[in-house]
């Protein structure tokens, strides 16, 4: 077996040149693994103009931050990322390499894993150290079963869901050094226009509160009320599949196995019956609140708090009372 060393975390930079929430959570997880395995934590950050973000990352407890600052990396091109990272990861093979189970992580990590012939487990909800093994837990069959897996290669790669780890508090700064590798001169892909349909002020996957509506919302008007509640609780609006299919909610809002997987502190499900497909996308939420007029709706089986009633009658007073409470 090759001599592998260190816990590496692939950082992502979001709004205002700040590391994303899942990046900081991964550093927290990485620290935890590192202390059990007696390893160091390195954070990798790639992009154009990422020096400042690298300095910021250094405050969150990694042992080092390695950055690759190149104008060619201003947008994510998987071929450039793979071309730059593979030689580096071959020269300094990590014991563990983590990324968020994000748009980038899902696209990049399988490519890297096959290039490096390194075992990868995606969409992890738990990581543990068991003797010399790292056990990775992920839901399968749309969340109807939970598999714990290990990889048979000396390097271990995983993508981890948002809100699995805990972000460390900022402390003293670690060393920040350039990553010694070259960005390939060309890619077979060409990136054309980019269309933004939804503001990223409060990304659904990172929102502490998600207020979602289902088929029973009956139209766009109901979603305006959900938006109001999300505003009061500083959260984001989600939807199950039927409202998206009917055009009442944007496809970027869809929560479920064919949409986004979220695990907020509070998930409020309004007029959602609780299909397997939807539960797979929100079943790991901290507290689940359900409002549904059908007392037999499955959602009440997985909820912590509920009201049996028509949302048209329940929501206005719920919303008014929330506003009062949050202003106190």
């Amino acid at each position: 077996m090759a001599d592998t060393q260190g816990i590496y975390i692939l950082a992502e930079i979001g709004e205002a040149e700040k590391p994303t929430a899942v990046t900081l959570e991964l550093i927290g997880l990485g620290r935890d693994l590192a202390s059990r395995l007696g390893e160091r934590v390195s954070t990798l950050v790639l992009g154009a103009g990422v020096r400042e973000a690298a300095q910021e990352l250094a405050l969150y407890g990694p042992d080092e931050v390695l950055f690759l600052d190149d104008p060619a990396l201003s947008r994510y091109d998987p071929e450039l990322y793979v071309g730059a990272l593979v030689p580096f990861l071959e020269s300094r093979p990590p014991r563990v390499l983590l990324a968020g189970h994000t748009s980038l992580g899902q696209d990049l990590f399988p490519r890297l894993a096959f290039s490096l012939d390194c075992g990868l487990v995606t969409d992890c909800v738990a990581l543990e150290v068991d003797g010399g093994d790292i056990l990775l837990t992920r839901p399968i069959y749309g969340g109807n079963a939970i598999a714990t897996q290990k990889v048979g290669t000396s390097k271990v790669m995983a993508t981890v869901r948002a809100r699995v780890g805990e972000a460390p508090q900022p402390s003293s700064a670690a060393a920040v050094t350039p990553l010694e590798t070259a960005v390939p001169a060309s890619s077979r892909l060409s990136l054309k226009e980019r269309e933004v349909l939804q503001s990223r002020e409060c990304p659904l996957e990172e929102a502490p509160v998600v207020v979602s509506g289902g088929r029973g919302m009956g139209g766009e008007d109901g979603f305006a009320q959900l938006t109001e509640i999300a505003g009061i609780l500083s959260g984001a609006v989600g939807a199950s599949r039927p409202p998206v299919d009917s055009g009442w909610a944007a496809s970027t809002c869809q929560v479920g196995i064919t949409g986004k997987v979220v695990a907020p502190d509070i998930y409020i499900a309004v007029a959602i019956s609780g299909s397997t497909q939807h539960l797979s996308g929100m079943g790991e939420s901290g507290k689940i609140v359900a409002i549904n007029k059908d007392p037999d709706a499955y959602i009440f089986k997985v909820a912590d708090y509920g009201v049996v009633g028509d949302w048209r009658q329940v929501l206005p007073s719920f919303s008014a009372a929330l506003r009062e409470i949050m202003q106190e």
Binding site: D107, Y141, N144, A145, I146, R188, V196, D304, P316, A321
Partner: protein, 265 residues
Amino acid sequence: MAINIIVCAKQVPDPEGPPSSFEINAEERRVTARGIPPVINPFDENALEAAIRIKETSGANITLLSLGKGLSKAVILKAVAAGADASLLVDAEALDAALLDPFATARLLAAAIGKAGPFDLILCGRQAADTNAGMVGLGLAQLLGIPAITLAQKVEIADGRVVVERVLPDGYEVVEAPLPALVTVSGEVGDLRYPSLQAIKAGKALPQTVLGLADLGVEPAGLGRVETVRLTAPSRERRCTLVEGDTPEEAGRKLAQLLRQEKVI
């Protein structure tokens, strides 16, 4: 000019089946579906729909490729009849989906594609509805040495290139690659059309090749990189505190107050 498209389609237990139909066998570390029929993985159906749309606009010859154990011919026929031109099935005991990890699956598919004749475009679903890993398509492209674009909501062919609208968390981007290429398709493409009874009848006459493991020249043993060590049932059910009131308005107000009382908000 018509291009050759291969659509990779996995048979899975219907993911819309109720949770009780997924039986967990902890000892064998596998899930057995009870009382629900196999279907083509919904994202692979989206991939087939994307292929059929290319065929309609710029012409294509579509081969449906499926690899597994005990493949349902009826399920394959329904998919093929929607608009494919041929099918290639690799059916063997050792291709039990529960025993193959994404690394083994991608290598076996790469070998099967070697038997499928020349291709310009491979379309796969973004992930399978059973294992949900989202790795096989990208792995396959890496093994074949062709460019890959993930999460397509629209796929078109123009001037010998594939043009993809790729879903992003906040919108989409347009990405192009030269052919041959591989694209993974997302649900936004839309559902696979239903074949007419007439098309299903005609589908039976379309060329179908059935291969065994020996034809591939690859053994699954040793190809895997990931092993499942434990399989458990999720503990989803919680105890729900139902808030009641004399009127629904009162219940709404009391719900907000309870959430504060319990320090949820």
